[in-house]
Amino acid sequence: MRRFTDRLKETPSQTAGPYVHIGTTPGFIGIGGVYPADHGAVMVNESARGERITITGSIFDGAGAPLRDALLEIWQADANGLFNSRSERRGTADPGFSGWGRQPVDLETGIYRFETIKPGRVPYPDGRLQAPHVMFWIVARGINIGLHTRMYFGDEEAANAEDPVLARIEHKMRLPTLVAAADVSTYTFDIHLQGEKETVFFDI
């Protein structure tokens, strides 16, 4: 019988620091010759199914300045709502789409950019469908433990209105912090660490 008290403690988090690129995206800072490419830089190949989209934006601190040393990772379902993962039991995800991406923000402008596909809908544990969304994980100097949030799509109003996660947000005026503005195939998703527009972050 496995009991609660048998558990080991999780290794505690520490900040990724300002030099996170060295270990995660060395090519981005011009260090070549060790890895063939920056891991997670490319999420789609030519055979990937679904609508090609761009997700871009900035991360702002409590003074309104964009972070210029942050790293973002995204994780999402494929166009059919399946994850390219060992634990996916509902079917086989699109082999042309990894579902996982990693991008630093630009060292000068603070802008990030992902080239991905629009995800399908994934069921919530109770069977209701979630709206299409992309999971975000953000690390940087000054962030002691990686921040989890989600991006929803501004052109999916009907699906967003019935999304079980968005429905859990008590303060409805905060909902727009999770919804990216749509402009054809480009979605702009700015993240605010503090202040009136503070993004909803999740304890998952």
Binding site: L8, T11, G17, V20, F83, R86, N144, L193, F201, F202
Partner: protein, 246 residues
Amino acid sequence: MRNAPTETGPFWPRDLDWHPKALTPGYKTSVLRSPQKALLSLPNTLGEINGPLFGHNMIGEFDNDLLINFARPGETAIGERIIVHGYILDEHAKPVSNTLLEVWQPNAGGRYRHVKDGYAAAIDPNFGGFGRTLTDDDGYFAFRTIKPGPYPWPNNQNDWRPSHIHFSVFGPGFAQRLISQLYFEGDPHIALCPIVNTIKDPQAIDQLTAKLDMDNTIPMDARAYRFDIVLRGRRSTLFENRMEGN
């Protein structure tokens, strides 16, 4: 163990008192970068339970050997030669196999190979300062490197980082994603460091401190440091028909 089925359950919640808080004024940069509103707690959905796949074909032969992976042929990085090794386990002490571990660090003088690092210590032409490996079926990993040097950083007027190696771990579920730092047993800077001290529990700090391991030290070559990493474990579903039980 080798043929254990892939687990698909939700994860135990994080103990957020064991981890550092978002706002830790002793580490000044956290003041404007810490969310001020409460995190919204969610039950794990399929997205958090699943995580990206990485294959052994992405790992190069010398990716886990920082002594030589950036060095000119026949040369090695300057510094104290060390091996860092251990296991990645989940909270139930089960091995986390085939998971990606990435590391990065400054050189023996405390200088990073980064366009934004202007510290006076010299760059080592034979040291890139990063590596990666996948754990084996037992969750075991090892990499060879040089012991990183301490360095000053702008926080208070005279703050120095203890020798440390940054590390990033995945695990099979995206909710397990973790970045942290490894410190070295006996370093007097550990107790003085505002970043270390964002963690309140001394046992949690000890969990980030690699221990000198003379049994695995290679005589006349490289000292070993032992460092185990624990990722979040999964709840097992009650009444689920599994050989290993609950």
